[in-house]
């Protein structure tokens, strides 16, 4: 179905609309125990539309010829959405760059990853490689834009008996040439080989060094609290905190969609607003929520280019790096943990941002600036505000981390958070 024809039809029945046409070509190689499990291939188009008529809104995908009839039926019955304030009419130009993805054979990449991990004593390796190529067109009442995006995602979890190390990385079209599978395999295997003595450390407050992956996991789990949708819902610890302190002076968090070294590259949002680097938290001060035109109009701000028309969301979160080497950060901890990754973050209270998360893939105890052993069975049980306020130092190195649904494509440094609550099972 042609989006120009759809546009002409929608124009007749609705005040505003957005048509999203995504052409995807994605290949995925999944592997475990050092051999390939499956090769998955997706190659097709999707068309999704959002329409409004006064305060009434509806969304649907377009597959059937009678989509307009269905849409009119829905619009007839849905109540007004009184939080809806329209779509951005002020559309700036965007010039697309078509970057052909190198004809990377991801099977070769997989073999190189495994070779490297095994050579570095990572005996058993699991993971995946995605090769992604998309063409996205957004057509609204006010204009049409297209962009192309290519990228590679690599995840490898390397095991040495009961110990594991994991690398989860993403490469935007500008970084594909920099992929070094040998280094990635080596890093995962090296972490799995930091074994040492297994220690039984009591519950309590400790300093924690968060790796880029662990930082990414915690930020991913909490970042929607900065979407105006969550603010408006009453479910965020950041309500009424614009221009107030929500983190340490050393902490700055951006949405960084124009960074084409990452796979989260996104030059315009779902209503064709050109994106930009958005300061969310600057030196610990909350500067902005994430907005669409509608949520911005509702709350008296300007759109930040984060539509989701109804649900604003981030494209590629970036925590600003600091100036310390990772070895100095380890050295700065007298009694604490170095945690390389975590998963399964769940909240008991989304209003205060109180949650727990389960560390994995490298959990080390640090005493007087030295890693002295490994630890299992612990949890971070704390709140996002406490963690952000206790960021004491940040590494000079950033990683482009992405893993499963736990870490959205983001750019993260390592960070020291002081006085964090650690719990464990009995």
């Amino acid at each position: 179905m042609n989006i120009n024809n759809i546009s002409e039809e929608l124009k007749k029945s609705f005040d505003e609309y957005s048509i999203e046409n995504i052409k995807e070509n994605i290949e995925e190689l999944r592997f475990s125990n050092n051999s390939m499990d499956i090769y998955n291939i997706w190659d097709y188009n999707d068309i999704n539309i959002f329409v409004s008529k006064n305060k009434k809104i509806a969304s649907m995908n377009v597959k059937d010829n009678d989509y307009l009839k269905k849409l009119n039926e829905i619009i007839k019955y849905v109540p007004d959405n009184n939080s809806y304030y329209g779509m951005n009419p002020d559309i700036k130009e965007y010039k697309d760059n078509i970057h052909e993805i190198d004809n990377n054979d991801i099977y070769d990449l997989f073999n190189q990853l495994i070779d490297s991990a095994i050579k570095n004593n990572g005996n058993k390796n699991s993971g995946l490689i995605y090769k992604i190529s998309t063409e996205t067109t957004i057509k609204t009442k006010y204009g049409e834009k297209t962009f192309h995006n290519n990228g590679i995602e690599i995840v490898i979890r390397s095991f040495n008996n009961n110990f594991s190390g994991q690398e989860g990385l993403h490469f935007g079209y500008n970084a594909i040439k920099k992929i070094d599978p040998y280094k990635i395999g080596e890093e995962a295997a090296i972490t799995s080989n930091i074994t040492g003595k297994t220690l039984n450390i009591p519950e309590g407050k400790y300093d924690v060094l968060l790796s880029p992956e662990f930082s990414g996991s915690i930020i991913t789990a909490n970042i929607d609290s900065l979407s105006y949708y969550n603010i408006d819902s009453g479910l965020s610890p950041f309500i009424d905190k614009i221009n107030t302190k929500v983190g340490s002076n050393k902490l700055s968090i951006y949405d960084d969609p124009l960074n084409n070294n990452g796979i989260g590259f996104r030059p315009f949002d779902d209503e064709n607003t050109n994106t930009n680097k958005v300061n969310l938290i600057s030196n610990g001060v909350l500067k902005s929520y994430m907005h669409s035109y509608s949520t911005a109009s509702e709350s008296g701000y300007k759109t930040t280019g984060n539509a989701g028309i109804i649900y604003p969301h981030p494209w590629q979160i970036h925590v600003k790096s600091g100036n310390k080497h990772i070895s100095d950060l380890i050295n700065d901890i007298d009694n604490g943990f170095y945690i390389k990754n975590s998963w399964y973050t769940r909240f008991q209270d989304e209003k205060s941002g109180t949650f727990s998360t389960v560390p994995r893939d490298g959990v080390f105890y640090i005493k007087n600036g030295k890693i002295v052993g490994t630890v299992s069975g612990i949890r971070i049980s704390d709140s996002i505000l406490n963690i952000l306020n206790n960021i004491d130092d940040i590494s000079d190195e950033e990683k482009y981390v992405k893993w499963w649904n736990e870490i959205n494509s983001s750019i993260m440094p390592s960070m020291i958070a002081r006085n964090i609550n650690i719990t464990k099972g009995f």
């Binding site: 097709y44 959405n81 979890r157 209270d349 069975g377």
Partner: protein, 456 residues
């Protein structure tokens, strides 16, 4: 010849085993937030999942089109299956069958106006709540599965899930609750369940919880409600018994399992019997054939305190050199089938609730939970109670706030010494795989008693 048969014929000619799954799904979704309509979504989608097994396994996901247009996609799938990799699979077939369950008040016959009416009503009875989110989703699925071993299975069913989240703010103290109710049937579901009563009870307990005190950490006898039985069955029995996890297929995502091999392992007391059963009629995970054309059946995951039967799809069954037991599920037409749960529950025993409580001198009753999580071998887990009470001298006492169970699977199940005779289920969306697939499940069980559990 139908397109699905043409695809199968073409792909089978050059495969050791091949199958094709066609799914056509229509979904509707409506959301209310804090008294206002927020969004609606309608989705009708369909396509073919084509799998070829040769030197390895490959799958391609193709939208409906003419055969000539998709031939190059099929050639690509075949090409990828010639690369070196794992290729063991249960290739059984020769079953021709169909099943259908749409309930009485069919999803396709219920108007959007009526669905909005359902949500408006729930929103209304939550009238004075600080945060209230109400979602209603339904779907109608038509599925055809064919394979190179002669199977052809037709499935047709509809599913509904109602989700709400409420939050109470009093004296700057906040408590929240979310619940999911799901079924594989029609809209008569809303006539069968006393939703108003459940919502009102939840609101009432949250309001009390805000003013309740936390308990002194220590060892207590514990009675758990069906929601805790359900989440424990799912997390600490269902997941670790998915055989693809045990062999490392999910190691880089949801992880592996504390169960390392096929030898029976003692995981708890003799009272622990946990079942996964896709054939529980009208359950949210109900099916009679899985997404790989294998007949569904009841499986005892844990029996008398020991591991008993794994959850298998065709791929993990092939590695074990046995037949699949009907656990192969894919969340959408464009996803690979994985070993998945359906309805997972602790088998009821013969104690009444009063009997479970009666001989506890100093204990705690935790009815349901808020925060929970578990490590990636499904061993080290945490559940934070939501509605919970002291038990003193065999009687339910005052309400307490957010008691925490942080333990491990074997400690938990080893402490279990009595199982109730009731049985209740709650719905959930279980995540696994990459791309992540959320499949519809029920989890449940009766009330149960555990002795001397550390609660904080």
């Amino acid at each position: 010849m139908n397109l699905i048969d043409k695809i199968l014929e073409y792909i089978s000619k050059d495969s050791k085993f091949a199958d094709v799954r066609f799914i056509d799904k229509t979904e509707n979704s409506i959301q209310f937030r804090n008294g206002e309509f927020i969004d609606s979504y309608y989705n009708h989608d369909s396509g073919y999942a084509v799998r070829s097994v040769n030197n390895s396994i490959s799958m391609g996901f193709i939208r409906e089109s003419s055969f000539e247009e998709i031939r190059k996609d099929l050639d690509n799938i075949l090409k990828k299956s010639k690369m070196k990799g794992k290729n063991k699979i249960d290739d059984s077939g020769n079953i021709k069958d169909s099943w259908k369950y749409l309930g009485n008040k069919k999803v396709s016959d219920v108007s959007i106006e009526d669905k909005i009416g359902i949500l408006k009503h729930f929103d209304y009875i939550m009238s004075d709540i600080h945060v209230k989110i109400n979602n209603l989703n339904d779907e109608v699925v038509n599925e055809i599965y064919v394979n190179s071993s002669g199977s052809e299975i037709n499935s047709q069913y509809s599913r509904i899930i109602y989700y709400y989240m409420i939050g109470i703010l009093e004296n700057n103290e906040f408590e929240q609750s979310s619940k999911e109710f799901g079924t594989t049937s029609g809209y008569e579901y809303f006539d069968k369940i006393n939703f108003d009563g459940k919502i009102n009870n939840d609101i009432s307990s949250l309001k009390k919880s805000v003013h309740s005190k936390q308990i002194k950490p220590g060892k207590y006898d514990l009675v758990i409600g069906p929601e805790i039985s359900g989440i424990v069955s799912h997390e600490s029995s269902g997941h670790p018994m998915e055989y693809d996890r045990i062999i490392g297929r999910e190691a880089a995502q949801a992880g592996e399992s504390f169960i390392k091999n096929t030898k029976p392992l003692k995981i708890g007391s003799k009272y622990v019997n946990i079942i996964d059963d896709p054939t529980v009629k009208e359950s949210y995970g109900y099916y009679l054939y899985d997404d790989e054309g294998t007949k569904a059946r009841k499986r005892y995951l844990y029996k008398n305190g020991y591991t008993n039967e794994f959850i298998l799809n065709r791929e993990s069954a092939g590695i074990l050199n046995v037949k699949s037991n009907g656990g192969g599920r894919a969340s959408e037409w464009n996803m690979e089938p994985l070993a998945r749960m359906s309805t997972t529950y602790i088998e009821p025993g013969d104690y009444s609730f009063e009997e479970l409580v009666s001989d506890i001198k100093n204990g705690i009753y935790i009815k349901d939970f808020t925060e929970w999580n578990i490590d990636d071998i499904r061993f080290n887990e945490k559940y934070v109670g939501k509605e919970a009470y002291r038990i003193v001298n065999g009687k339910i006492g005052e309400q307490i706030r957010r008691p925490v169970i942080e333990t491990n699977t074997i400690n938990f199940f080893s402490s279990l010494d009595a199982v109730g005779n009731d049985l209740n289920f709650s719905a959930g969306i279980c995540g696994k795989g990459d791309p992540e697939q959320g499949v519809n499940v029920w989890m449940g069980g009766p009330h149960a008693r555990l002795r001397s559990v550390y609660i904080k």
